[in-house]
């Protein structure tokens, strides 16, 4: 009796163990089977009508969120958002602004901006898009209780953090004229490009008719942002599986010509698989900057017959940041610049698909100072400078390298070797980005390397060097530079601005608080069946509604 009882319990437990495991897999298989049924259905319908036009774009990091007013500074999120959200203006590769939600953005005094909306603009649920949505979006995003990635502190009525004060319910810099016209007043006159880049191309809108009743401090966790179905863009949200893919489908209610493609997937895959999947046709293009094809695959890529391969313009450089507190002698910083064989990195690692610059601003920027004499590779001069500066050869520099970007890590290895050759000892410490940034912020480093963001607006590159910027992690301070940085940010006359920024770049070149190592020309690969689209550094989706597939 006892043994049979034992046997029963034993079996029960064993069954329980199996069930525990099976219950999830059973769940899986049941959804699988419904999905399978779905697939056969759609297969039938598509077979009956025309084949769906689908483009799949490969990226290597998953967007954490699809929140259009808080992209968390994440490049992957920024890649996906413009597919389903239109901004007032868009931008093309020649840095020209194109009308989107706004027909025009005009100013006569560089301080008062008049924006006329496209009167036909409407949300994908057919509700009209009006200045009421603009007002709702701005008041919501600038509410101090709402986390937002908008940086609009230049608008009159915001505080230094670019937010409204607690309890403030109106934005004095925003005047609604009528349903399709509004005015924005800035605190001081600014270059219209700042307004156009930071406001007109980076602000996406949220629908007032969907979100008007949500309490501000609960906005972020509102289900709308997990499934933003009501947006205004050429495509609309269909599905978001974090770490797998984002699926968007054509918005048939689009206020501009309706998209020719039926569907776009943005698929997350490891960088090493990009080439293979381009080859098999699983993806039709890569994406910049989150779907970078390793430059080591350049030759392989060129040899593939079904692809069009191109390289982008120079992108934001990998910068070597000096801790200007611990390496406070400019001669040492210059010696380091002479010691580095950056051309070797460009020729060998990047197979020529990059260029050497010294400053933070990429060479295709409107305000790039072309007259600056670049540092050359001259180890003897480096040694001489070190001698002059009385460099202690027993000293070891801490060089913090973020793990992840293989080619940047390899470039760092070359830098270390270069420095050893002139008698500077370097200890490399590799960290994940979060850890690295914390150490850098605390000043626990001598050298570090990473890339910043890509901007059209030059002041965004220079704000780092301002002495009173709390985020000035390089601890650089030069009153003269501070003056030019402030002047440049508010100067609205392009000619004067050029002059200011030329001088500023010369100062930064002489002081050398940072040194750029390389500015990569990124590989753009797109299948030759895609018409009208290709990966771009900026504005890749400005004409996404015109993209099409060749029908054979």
């Amino acid at each position: 009796m006892k043994s049979s009882l034992r046997f029963i319990t034993f079996t029960l437990l064993a069954v329980l163990l199996v069930l525990l495991s099976a219950c999830t897999s059973a769940q899986n298989s049941s959804t699988d089977s419904t999905k399978a049924a779905d697939t056969t259905n759609t297969d039938k319908t598509t077979a009956a009508s025309v084949k769906e036009k689908v483009v799949t774009i490969g990226i290597v990091n998953s967007p954490p969120t699809l929140n259009q007013i808080n992209d968390q500074g994440d490049s992957a999120t920024r890649t996906v958002l413009p597919l389903i959200n239109d901004s007032l203006l868009d931008i093309n590769t020649s840095f020209e602004f194109l009308p989107k939600l706004a027909d025009s953005v005009e100013t006569t005094d560089n301080q008062n901006y008049v924006v006329k909306l496209n009167p036909n603009a409407k949300w994908n649920d057919d509700q009209p898009f009006t200045t009421a949505d603009v007002r709702f979006t701005l008041l919501t995003a600038l509410n101090p209780k709402v986390e937002s990635s908008f940086r609009l502190s230049f608008i009159d009525g915001t505080n230094d953090a670019g937010k409204l004060e607690e309890g403030q319910t109106e934005l004095s810099g925003l005047k609604i004229v009528d349903k399709h016209t509004f005015k924005v007043k800035t605190k001081t006159p600014i270059d219209p490009n700042i307004f156009k880049e930071t406001f007109a191309t980076k602000v996406y809108f949220i629908p007032e008719h969907v979100l008007k009743d949500v309490v501000p401090d609960q906005l972020a966790t509102n289900p709308y942002f997990q499934k933003p179905e009501v947006t205004i863009g050429a495509f609309k949200f269909a599905d978001f599986k974090k770490d797998q893919y984002t699926e968007v489908v054509r918005n048939d209610n689009y206020y501009r010509p309706v998209a020719k493609l039926d569907k776009i997937y943005v698929k997350v895959l490891p960088a090493t698989n990009l080439i293979a999947q381009l080859q098999t046709g699983d993806i039709q293009m890569n994406s910049l900057p989150v779907g970078l094809i390793p430059i080591t695959d350049y030759d392989k890529l060129k040899a593939l017959p079904n692809l069009n391969v191109d390289s982008s313009g120079p992108s934001e450089p990998a910068e070597l940041f000096f801790n200007n507190k611990t390496i406070n002698d400019v001669k040492v910083r210059q010696a380091i610049a002479y010691a580095l064989n950056r051309q070797l990195i460009v020729d060998q690692l990047f197979k020529g698909q990059a260029e050497v610059i010294d400053g933070s601003v990429p060479s295709d920027n409107l305000y790039y100072n072309k007259d600056i004499q670049l540092f050359t590779y001259d180890p003897d001069k480096a040694k001489a400078l070190l001698k002059e500066a009385g460099w202690d050869t027993n000293k070891t520099l801490r060089f913090l390298v973020p793990a992840g970007n293989k080619i940047r890590e390899q470039a760092s290895d070359i830098l270390v070797q270069n420095l050893k050759d002139v008698g500077i000892n370097v200890e490399v410490q590799k960290f994940d980005f979060s850890t690295l940034i914390q150490k850098v912020d605390k000043g626990e480093y001598d050298l570090t390397i990473f890339n910043r963001d890509y901007y059209i607006e030059p002041s965004n590159y220079f704000s780092l060097f301002k002495g009173d910027n709390a985020n000035n992690f390089i601890f650089y301070h030069n009153p003269k530079a501070d003056e030019f940085i402030s002047q440049g940010a508010t100067e609205s006359d392009p000619a004067k601005r050029h002059d200011i920024y030329n001088k500023l770049q010369q100062i930064l070149h002489d002081d050398l608080p940072t040194l750029s190592i390389y500015s990569e020309k990124r590989l753009q690969a797109v299948s030759n069946v895609v018409v009208g689209g290709k990966p771009l550094n900026l504005g890749a989706f400005n004409n996404v509604n015109e993209w099409d597939l060749k029908t054979n």
Binding site: R6, T9, F10, L16, L17, S21, T24, S25, Q27, N28, S29, D32, A36, T39, E52, V54, T56, S62, P64, T65, N67, Q72, G73, P144, K145, E147, R151, S153, N159, D160, A161, G162, K163, D217, A220, T221, F225, Q226, K241, D243, Q244, E247, K263, K267, L269, P270, N273, A276, D432, F433, S434, T435, I437, K439, R452, D453, S463, A470, N471, F473
Partner: protein
């Protein structure tokens, strides 16, 4: 028995609590926090501070922990710091694929390892045995990431038989056969590790039993050799294997982190990696909790199974 169960369950609560405290402290000791990740020098410090305040990072550690615990007692795991999605939902989405992968691997692994282990023990010190021990050693020592990448190279890139990663083909909705197709490579990598380890266990355990006196008696009685091996020896040899089976489940969950990364398998492992990298504290805490519960449950079940399998062990 019932008394033993109740006691074990009661003990498990303070243990779980202790685990959450320790993991909370370790997590906080790790340098970096979600707000520091925003390196953009154009971010005003006030905004960073507001974000810190909003995420509750400005309070002292015990207060932060208490907030988390209070949420947990109310059945709330909180919201992810990076996506603001409910953590429970995120984990719910991921646990299915992970279990599917882990259990397929476990099952395949055991179904391969047991017969091979027995065969190896029966042919002790013969060519087959040496080959098997050698292969098992290779399977045990080959790093999963290397094996994974090699398999991708051969079967996905060169032969185009299997996909390079993911759990379903985009746009094809992931039916049963599609999922199976994607499951083969990652499950194989995990299973090979298990087979390597288990063959050795089973062989050793079987050899031990085979040298026992009672088997000689059985043979002397004239019992057929197959009966001796499969009925008398195997039954006794499987006892210790049972324990190993139970402890394998948590190991599998840990081991699949790497494999999930390589194969882009949308499971717990990937979520864990990403949460660590972005210092997503609420998600990490919840993942730790889930892992702790899984380990404790499988340990408990193994202990109980053991007492049934080996009557010499009694729980009171």
């Amino acid at each position: 028995m019932l008394f033993y169960l109740t006691r074990r369950l009661l003990i498990s609560f303070p243990v779980l609590l202790g685990i959450t405290v320790i993991s909370f402290i370790i997590m906080k000791l790790a340098p970096g926090n979600p707000v520091d990740m925003l390196i953009d020098p154009n971010t005003p410090p006030e905004l960073l501070d507001a974000k810190r305040e909003m995420l509750g990072l400005n309070s002292s550690l015990p207060v932060q922990y208490w907030h988390w615990l209070k949420g947990l007692l109310h059945g709330q795991l909180g919201y992810s710091f990076s996506s603001y999605a409910p953590v429970a939902g995120m984990i719910g989405q991921r646990i299915g694929p992970t279990l599917l992968l882990a259990l397929t691997a476990l099952l395949t692994g055991l179904l391969t390892a047991i017969p091979l282990g027995i065969a190896s023990a029966v042919r002790h010190n013969k060519a087959f045995d040496h080959t098997m021990t050698g292969l098992a050693f290779i399977g045990l020592s080959i790093p999963p990431f290397f094996l994974g990448l090699s398999l991708i190279y051969v079967f996905a890139l060169k032969l185009h038989w299997l996909p390079t990663g993911g759990m379903s083909t985009l746009g094809r909705g992931g039916g049963f056969s599609d999922t199976l197709h994607h499951l083969i490579l990652p499950a194989t990598v995990l299973a090979i590790g298990i087979v390597g380890k288990k063959i050795r266990y089973i062989r050793a355990s079987m050899l031990d039993v085979l040298s026992q006196e009672y088997l000689r008696t059985a043979r002397a009685k004239g019992v057929k050799e197959s009966m001796v091996v499969y009925k008398h020896a195997l039954r006794n040899a499987l006892l210790p294997i049972l324990t190993v089976f139970g402890t394998e489940i948590p190991v599998l969950l840990g081991g699949s982190i790497l494999v999930e990364q390589i194969f882009q398998w949308p499971g717990i492992g990937q979520l864990t990696m990403q949460s660590i990298l972005s210092r997503d504290y609420p998600t990490l805490m919840a993942l730790n909790l889930v892992a702790a519960i899984v380990v404790m449950t499988s340990n408990l079940i193994t202990d109980i199974l053991y007492s049934f399998a080996d009557p010499r062990i009694q729980y009171r």
